[in-house]
Homo-oligomer: 148 residues x 2
Amino acid sequence: MRPAKTLERVIPIGTLAERTGVKVETIRYYEQVGLLPEPERSEGNQRRYGRAHVERLAFIKHARDLGFAVESIRTLLRLSDTPGMACDEAHAIAAEHLDEVRDKIARLRSLEAELARIATVCSGGVAASDCAVIEALADHSHCEHHSA
Amino acid sequence: MRPAKTLERVIPIGTLAERTGVKVETIRYYEQVGLLPEPERSEGNQRRYGRAHVERLAFIKHARDLGFAVESIRTLLRLSDTPGMACDEAHAIAAEHLDEVRDKIARLRSLEAELARIATVCSGGVAASDCAVIEALADHSHCEHHSA
DNA sequence: CTACAACCTGTAGCCACTACAGCTTCAAGA
DNA sequence: TCTTGAAGCTGTAGTGGCTACAGGTTGTAG
């Protein structure tokens, strides 16, 4: 007897989407940009995926969720495909991305501080000519933040 | 005698760019999407800006630096143009944006934590088959983070 | 008057999708 | 076996907020 549906050896794109949490259109996009290898096709030209695709797409999704750029993921996948290759490069990509994330957090925190200041002063209800939000945006003098 | 160049009443786009820190192309873009009103033109069809444009562009730049979407800025500008209008809306926009920024910070912090974990374990030099970065991305099991 | 920087318009590209139009295929029920 | 409707297909265009050209015109200092 054949295995239950959720354990089948080849699955269509919709099932792959469900199983990985990646949308159908996004899966086709990943194929188009060369992240996901082209799968076999049914007689009627529909994509049929196997276990390897599920794993690879899960890898991609995990990396995307962590904010890695598609270009970085391409490199990470290449590294994971060549097991003899040194891990230095993967480590460098992760470390660099971590730096970027930390930078982004720092910048957002300074935005948060200024926004909080602006939003607190103005509690609404006043005429716009006196609105602290508008005034704060119009007047750049007493703020020391930097461009994004 | 005429005033010094930096104090002139009408300025070309390049000077406006210098004075506000907004690139020439971006200024034209803001005009195109209706954030900055169309200025007068010279006889030769070149844009000539006045004091009001400098102020409005500074407002826009400040708001963009704070991460406000162009659409929000459009509303904020409209509010600042109608001085009788209540400030509630401006306050709501700022408060909502502050919420978004805080959300973003929270999400980035959880990314940071996982990236730090991944990057620390793997210090490079090992073969990719044993690389903690690759493994962590391939194996989703011991991580509880959520999609972006 | 000449040279050259600065300006002009319009279009295409960036990232990582997302949405749609207009078609074909698959699979389950009658 | 036939029908129906969900799911699949390709290709194109749109998102946001710019940025980067190409190929021309204007402004201005020497």
